[in-house]
Amino acid sequence: MLTLKQITKAFNEGTLDEKVALKHINLTLEPGDFVTIIGSNGAGKSTLMNIISGRLTPDTGEVIIKGENVTNMSEHERARYIGRVFQDPMAGTAPNMTIEENLALAYNRTMKRTLRFGVTKKRREFFKETLQTLQLGLENRLNAKVGLLSGGERQALSLLIATFTKPHLLLLDEHTAALDPARAQLITELTKQIVEKERLTTLMVTHNMEQALQLGNRLIMMDRGQIIFEASGKEKEKLTVEKLLQEFQRIRGSQFASDRAVLV
């Protein structure tokens, strides 16, 4: 579903601040794969997400989605294939527009926008049904502005509108990191439900090792722009936080040290 070939990306080349964010990354996601990516700050996780979504173009390498080379396709064109949820709960929805208008915006992701009405009677019914799956009562607040919702509600809505049009690929960029533990747990549960129900091919970046172990069928650990560890299926199910940390030390020969607190 997604293939990354030899992706390299450097910032500030030729200056003292040069930083190679990604070094020859190769990764393939089969349809239905749910891959979690962990790694410390500066490991290149966000850069990787931005290259897949088209916010950044790689220096070398190719991004292939469902057999199509999209390396040079602009962000908004590529969005036809990709659903995204961001870390910031404010980022995934339009605050001054109503809940149903936000759904209508997302509904148009895969089609050309026209001068037809964004919210029709038929669509409204569909939006209501879809919102009911969240069990947050948002289906009764279709005309409320999204800016009035709480952070958790907004992130749940972001997740819903990113997925209800069944994208080929779902990108989750630390989408629970800015929420309090209870809300984060709610969003994690919703993520699990939605991805399973729609069988979405998913790539999730997280800082939280527990979450990375709890979700998905594959796990990738990144460090300094490279994929340094990968586990899938049964192997992944047997992993624990301690084992992951040991693995990291074995490969890199250094302590997670300051990161440990953040990651656990």
Partner: protein
């Protein structure tokens, strides 16, 4: 006095079209677009020159609308493709349009006094249907020269407002609003924010130029300096309108902007009746009105907040008192 107020309502309705354009850029796209000072004159210039050369005034006004659309698109291109900051894109386009407008007109002022214009056509047609006489019988105390402009323009502006309201509910309209509300979000839902910004600014300036074309025909000339401070007048209309009439929904906000444009004209007319103020002071008064409209709501809401808290505290005390009363009983 009444006559002066009447003509300020007339002018207000014509300027309301410009204010709706400013609303689209300033509020919907969140883009403070200074192109307006230039594109208003572009509209006036294109219409005037075409009319003087014998073009049908309706066609000439439509051409003005198209010219404004192009000017807005140019600003949009500067910002999106040229990556120039919004304010600077507008200023650059405004200054470029000054020269372009002079080229269009060929001289700084084009009189339209003996020409057939949209205004004269409407007035002549109006005379034929005799509504003025009927109204003079109903309201004998106030007989203006003609009701034609006020009534026809009112209906036109309302239709225009409703078209804008409807447009902002279409799929493209929603994407346009999202571009001003959350660019990152709409980009992740396959909205081409560059294209939307360009089209949005185009529509905004099309309205502004159309308003300029009508004002030129209403006042009987177009002048190279007639756009100076137009963006501030537009902002004044938007801000005053929103403060007076509210802006909870799009339909409400566009109504408020029209109201704001009319109220602004009335305020200026009244202010100029004060003895020591001169016609040249209009821009100063405008700036003052905008500043007041921006500061007063903050000041008022701060006071309301304080009063609300004070009352809440008092209520808290009375609750506490009633509790002690209860204990003593």
């Amino acid at each position: 006095m009444l006559t002066a107020l009447f003509s300020s309502v007339e002018a207000g309705l014509l300027y309301a079209i410009m204010a709706l354009g400013v609303y689209l850029s300033f509020r919907i796209l969140d883009f403070p677009d200074l192109t307006v000072d230039g594109s208003f004159v572009t509209g006036a210039a294109v219409a005037s020159v075409l009319i003087v050369n014998g073009t049908n005034p309706f066609l000439a006004s439509f051409a003005a609308l198209l010219a404004g659309f192009l000017a807005g698109c140019a600003t949009g291109l500067l910002h999106t493709k040229g990556k120039i900051n919004p304010l600077l894109s507008g200023i650059l386009m405004m200054i470029a349009l000054y020269s372009i407008n002079l080229r269009i007109m060929g001289k700084p002022n084009v009189p339209l006094l003996q020409q057939e214009t949209v205004v004269t056509i409407i007035s002549d047609w109006w005379k034929g249907i005799g509504v003025d006489q009927a109204l003079a019988n109903i309201i004998p105390s106030f007989v203006p020269k003609t009701w034609a402009i006020v009534i026809v323009m009112f209906l036109f502006v309302i239709v225009l407002k409703m078209l804008i309201d409807l447009f902002l509910k279409t799929e493209i309209g929603l994407a346009l609003r999202a571009t001003g509300d959350n660019k990152k979000m709409i980009a992740s839902f396959s909205g081409n924010t560059d294209q939307l910004t360009i089209v949005g600014l185009g529509i905004s300036n099309a309205l502004v130029a159309f308003s300029g074309a009508l004002i030129a025909q209403y006042s009987g000339f177009s002048d190279i300096g007639m756009g100076i401070g137009m963006i501030v007048i537009g902002l004044a209309s938007v801000i005053i309108g929103e403060a007076l009439f509210g802006a909870r929904t799009i339909a409400r906000a566009t109504f408020a902007v029209i109201g704001g444009a009319i109220v602004y004209r009335i305020v200026i007319t009244l202010a100029l009746r004060i003895q020591f103020l001169e016609t040249g002071d209009v821009k100063l008064i405008t700036a003052f009105i905008v500043i007041m409209a921006l500061i007063l709501p903050q000041f008022l809401s701060a006071r309301m907040e304080k009063r609300r808290k004070l009352q809440a505290e008092k209520r808290g005390e009375s609750v506490a008192n009633s509790q002690t009363d209860y204990k003593s009983v």
